[in-house]
Symmetry: C2
Subunit: 197 residues, 2 copies
């Protein structure tokens, strides 16, 4: 997605060989126009999958998931990382480790919002090790529903999350795939990688 | 906002005298069409204030803040409740207590995303005791910017947050003001309350 790549080139900040900061438009400050374009692009790419619901994880996935769901004309559910005192109902729960934050969260979705037989599109802002997406996919499986796709805003293709997900048979679409930013320069990989199913 | 009130009547679930669950469309599952309408309504109500940026707090404020910012044609910043390992930069920090979750969070906004002289619209999903909005307003003050308004999706008018904010001189617009839901029945108050400035 050229608009996104251009934004990454202009505003992305390479901190070290593994960390790219895009907090000026994606995960602290948000550019709403860009986020609408991101949602439209996800909707276009997954138009043929019959998505019935979008699933993401708080907080940074919410904006892209919302705009994608709007364009796909379905609802969005965001998994909670901390069980609210109000969530005293039956829930699907799984463990997700964040390498960036160096913490493991118990991720929760209330059962009433994820029934069986749904066609779920998982959306997240970043794909690195694939922990979050794998966790959400486990929840979808627990619910007896199907993951019809995984949409990622920025994939760090030099980490193994994309490979893990594709080898597990998931259709992964990343709007920007970064091959490397070693040396401080972002180099993009091709966007499309055939999935293995 | 009649559409929102209708949704609350249809899907809101009164847990007890203080807690109304609206997790089917606002803070766990999100109805994107309703959220766009909410953003439009905020943009309409604050059209005369010269907003330059929308500020909210993760996670449940993000969706309404994003759609409002889209319609107002400005960027949105969401304050983080947990400092990411990536946020190794100068930041505004304040303490915010959540009575629902019974925890105090250190709320952070990087200084580079909140300069002086901005006209800030604060958006949040719920107003009860006003802790979150007061915390965000303190951060705006620290930055040398002005809070031109506080937009709330659902105000629990029987708790004192709205009174505190209005008596502090803030212009508060709540799209649905709930007078009481004692006895399990939601009763709405008038939406507009004159602010004191």
């Amino acid at each position: 997605m050229e608009l996104l790549k251009e934004k990454i080139r202009q505003e992305g900040h390479v901190l070290n060989d593994k960390v790219l900061k895009v907090d000026s438009f994606l995960n602290h400050q948000i550019d709403p126009e860009l986020m609408m374009a991101i949602g439209e692009e996800f909707a276009r790419r997954f138009a043929d999958t019959g998505v019935t619901k979008v699933l993401t994880i708080e907080s940074s996935g919410i904006a892209a998931a919302l705009t994608a769901a709007l364009k796909l004309n379905v609802k969005v559910v965001f998994a909670r990382k901390k069980k609210s005192a109000l969530m005293n109902e039956e829930a699907y729960v799984t463990q997700v480790h964040s390498f960036t934050k160096n913490e493991t969260n118990e991720v929760t979705v209330l059962k009433k919002f994820l029934g069986a037989g749904e066609k779920i599109l998982i959306i997240d802002d970043f794909l690195a090790n694939g922990e979050a997406a794998m966790g959400l996919a486990r929840i979808v499986e627990q619910a007896g529903s199907e993951v019809v796709g995984i949409g990622i805003v920025i994939e760090k293709a030099f980490q193994d999350g994309g490979k893990r997900l594709r080898e597990s048979g998931f259709r992964v679409e990343s709007l920007a795939r970064i091959a490397t930013f070693a040396g401080g320069e972002v180099q993009f990989a091709e966007e499309c990688v055939k999935h293995q199913s």
